[in-house]
C-alpha cells in the first residue's frame, strides 16, 4: 500500500488554504487534482518537442508525433486496450456523442440511399436502452438520437438501495444500443456491466459503458467489460482537462461514419467527395491535444506505480469509513448503497432540514470542498425524491482525517441551522 502523506507532496494545491483554513479536497469525482509529474510532463513537451502532430516532416514534428502516439500506447496499456482502439476526444461527453452521432449520421446517410453499416441505422420501432442512474452525458445524447431518428428510449429503473433493477424485457429484440454507467457518480453503485452487455449482444445490439468513475479508481480492462465502446475523461484520473478517451472495437470504429470532419481525418480528398482514414485518426480531426495526451499518459504511469489494486483498496477502506461515520450522525441519510458490496467511492447524502447547498456552503466554510447539486443526474435525484445531494468523493491523496473533517463540517451545519429544525412547508 502507498503512503498518502508522502504522495500528497506531489500535489502542491493540497497544501493551500481556502477561506482561511487548510483545504480538504473531497470533490475528486468532479475533477481530480494533478501531481507535479503530470504538470512537468506537459511542460517538458512544450519546452522541448512542441509541434503540430501528424503533419510536417521536420524534427520537432516527428518527435511530437512520436510522443503523442507513445502516450496513446501508454493509455491503451493502462486499460488493456490495443493502440488502434483508443480515440482522443476533448472529454468523456464528446466520446459518447461521437458514438451517438455515428448512429444519427449513418441513419441520415441510409435515408439518402448511401451505403452504410446497418448496425448503426436506427429508426421507429428500434430502441436504445440506458439506466435511471446515468449522468446527463450518457442520457441526453441518446434522447437526441431518438428524437432525430424516431427510435424509442428505454431504461432500467433503480431499487430503493440504489442498484439497477434489471427486469427482463427492457432489452428486447427491438434494442439496437445499450449504454450503461460502470460506477454511478451520484450513488457510488458499481453495475454488473458484463451481464448487461451480454444481454445486449444476445439480441444483436451494441453496447457502451461510461467509465468516468471507474477507470480512475479501480483496475479496468476494457476487453473484460464485454462492451463495444467505452468513454472516460482524463481530468478525473490525475490528468489534464481537455482530453477524454473513446475506446471502441476496431471493426466497429472503422465501420462508423466520421463525427467531426476536417484535416487529418482523411484518406483522399476531392472537390466533391472524400474518403476517410482508419480509426483512430478518422475521429481526430484538426490538430489534436498532444500535451494533454502526454500529461494523461504520465498520469497513467503515476497510477500504475501506485498499483490500481492498491488505489481501489485504499478507496474501499476510506469509503467504508465514510459510510460508518455518516451512519453515526442523526438526520443524515446516504442516497445509494450503504454497504460495500459492488460499491465505489462516491458517497451522496442528504441532511434532514438542511438543503444540500447550505450543507456544502457550511462545509466549505471549514475548508471542506464537496459537490452539491444534482451531479448531472437529475432523474436519479428525482427517483429518490431529493432535489439535490451533498457528495463526498475521495482519491489517492485523501485519508481518514479528511473524512473526519467532512463529518465535523456536517455537524457544524446541523448546529448552525439547529438540528432537525422544522421548516414550514
Amino acid at each position: 500500500m502507498f503512503d498518502v502523506n508522502k504522495l500528497r507532496a506531489d500535489f502542491p494545491i493540497l497544501s493551500r488554504e481556502v477561506r482561511g483554513v487548510p483545504l480538504v479536497y473531497l470533490d475528486s469525482g468532479a475533477t481530480s487534482q494533478k501531481p507535479t509529474q503530470v504538470l512537468d510532463a506537459e511542460r517538458h513537451f512544450y519546452e522541448t518537442s512542441n509541434a503540430a502532430v501528424h503533419r510536417g516532416a521536420h524534427a520537432l514534428a516527428e518527435e511530437a508525433t512520436d510522443a503523442y502516439e507513445a502516450a496513446r500506447q501508454t493509455i491503451a496499456s493502462f486499460v488493456g486496450a490495443k493502440i488502434e482502439e483508443i480515440v482522443f476526444t476533448k472529454n468523456a461527453t464528446e466520446g459518447i456523442n461521437l458514438v451517438a452521432y455515428a448512429f444519427s449520421n449513418a441513419t441520415d446517410k441510409a435515408r439518402q440511399g448511401i451505403e452504410v453499416d446497418r448496425r448503426f441505422v436506427v429508426g421507429p420501432g428500434d430502441s436504445i436502452v440506458v439506466t435511471e442512474m446515468e449522468h446527463h452525458a450518457n442520457l441526453i445524447p441518446w434522447q437526441e438520437l431518438c428524437a432525430k431518428t424516431g427510435a424509442t428510449l428505454k431504461w432500467f429503473g433503480l431499487t430503493e438501495e440504489g442498484r439497477l433493477d434489471i427486469q427482463p424485457g427492457v432489452i428486447d429484440s427491438t434494442t439496437k444500443f445499450v449504454s450503461v454507467v460502470h460506477q454511478s457518480n451520484l450513488l457510488g453503485t458499481i453495475n454488473p456491466v458484463k451481464e448487461i452487455m451480454d444481454m445486449a449482444h444476445a439480441v444483436g445490439a451494441l453496447g457502451m459503458v461510461d467509465l468516468c468513475q471507474s477507470v480512475p479508481h479501480m483496475p479496468v480492462n476494457v476487453h473484460e467489460l464485454g462492451a463495444d465502446f467505452a468513454s472516460w475523461s482524463g481530468h478525473k484520473m490525475l490528468g489534464p482537462t481537455g482530453i477524454g478517451i473513446l475506446w471502441g472495437k476496431s471493426d466497429l470504429l472503422n465501420a462508423m461514419p466520421p463525427f467531426l470532419s476536417g484535416g487529418s481525418m482523411i484518406e483522399m480528398v476531392h472537390m466533391d467527395h472524400s474518403t476517410y482514414a482508419p480509426a483512430p485518426q478518422r475521429f481526430e480531426a484538426g490538430v489534436p491535444m498532444a500535451a494533454q495526451a502526454i500529461g494523461l499518459a504520465r498520469a497513467c504511469d503515476y497510477l500504475s506505480e501506485l498499483g490500481m489494486d492498491n488505489v481501489f483498496l485504499h478507496e474501499q477502506e476510506l469509503t467504508a469509513y465514510a459510510l460508518e461515520e455518516l451512519a453515526k450522525i442523526p438526520g443524515v441519510r446516504v442516497i445509494g448503497p450503504t454497504d460495500m458490496r459492488d460499491r465505489g467511492s462516491a458517497v451522496s447524502f442528504v441532511v434532514d432540514g438542511i438543503h444540500p447547498h447550505d450543507v456544502g456552503h457550511l462545509m466549505d466554510a471549514k475548508g471542506v470542498a464537496v459537490r452539491v447539486g444534482h451531479h448531472c443526474c437529475w432523474p436519479t435525484c428525482r427517483r429518490f425524491d431529493v432535489p439535490a445531494t451533498t457528495r463526498i468523493t475521495t482519491y489517492i491523496y485523501n485519508d481518514k482525517s479528511d473524512i473526519d473533517q467532512a463529518v465535523a463540517g456536517i455537524k457544524s451545519a446541523q448546529e448552525f441551522f439547529g438540528s432537525g429544525i422544522a421548516v414550514s412547508a
Binding site: P356, H357, L362, A365, G373, P387, A388
Partner: protein
C-alpha cells in the same frame, strides 16, 4: 465567515416563510429553475382593486433562495408597480455588487440581509431566482411600471 451569508433575517425568513402558497387571484405566473442545483420557484402575480400588486410564491430550495422569495413577497405585496420597480432594481444591483455596495435600508428593508450573498458567485442565482420569476410574471401580466403607466 458563514455569518456574512446567513444573516439572522435570512434564517428567520427561511424557517418562517411569509407569503408562501397564499391563494391569490393571479393574472400570470412564472416558473424558474436553477439548473445547477435544481432549486425551483413559481411566482404568481395579481392586482388589487387599487392597482397594487398581489404576490404569491411556491418553491423548494436552499435557505438563500427560499428566504429571498419570502422577503420579496413581503416587500412587493401591496406596492404599486411603480413603487415596486425601484426596489426590484435596487435588489438586482445589490446582487451584482460583489459585496462592494452599501445597501439602502430605506428601499430594501429586510432584503439588505442579502448583501453578503453577492460575495459568493455560486449563491447569487439562489437569491435572484424568485426576483427573476417576479419580473417575468409581471411582464406576462402587464403589471410592470412601464406597462401600467401606459395602460393607466
Amino acid at each position: 465567515m458563514s455569518e456574512d451569508l446567513y444573516q439572522e433575517i435570512i434564517l428567520d425568513h427561511y424557517k418562517n416563510p411569509r407569503g408562501k402558497k397564499v391563494e391569490i387571484d393571479s393574472l400570470a405566473q412564472s416558473y424558474q429553475v436553477n439548473p445547477t442545483c435544481g432549486d425551483e420557484v413559481t411566482v404568481e402575480v395579481g392586482q388589487n382593486p387599487d392597482g397594487t400588486l398581489l404576490v404569491s410564491y411556491d418553491g423548494q430550495g436552499c435557505s438563500i433562495s427560499q428566504a429571498s422569495a419570502s422577503v420579496m413577497s413581503e416587500l412587493i405585496n401591496g406596492k404599486t408597480p411603480a413603487e415596486a420597480a425601484p426596489i426590484q432594481k435596487a435588489f438586482m444591483e445589490l446582487m451584482k455588487s460583489k459585496g462592494q455596495l452599501e445597501p439602502d435600508e430605506e428601499v430594501l428593508e429586510d432584503a439588505i440581509a442579502f448583501a453578503g450573498v453577492s460575495k459568493y458567485p455560486a449563491r447569487i442565482k439562489c437569491a435572484l431566482i424568485s426576483w427573476m420569476a417576479l419580473a417575468d410574471a409581471q411582464i406576462k401580466a402587464q403589471l410592470t411600471a412601464a406597462t401600467t403607466q401606459r395602460n393607466g
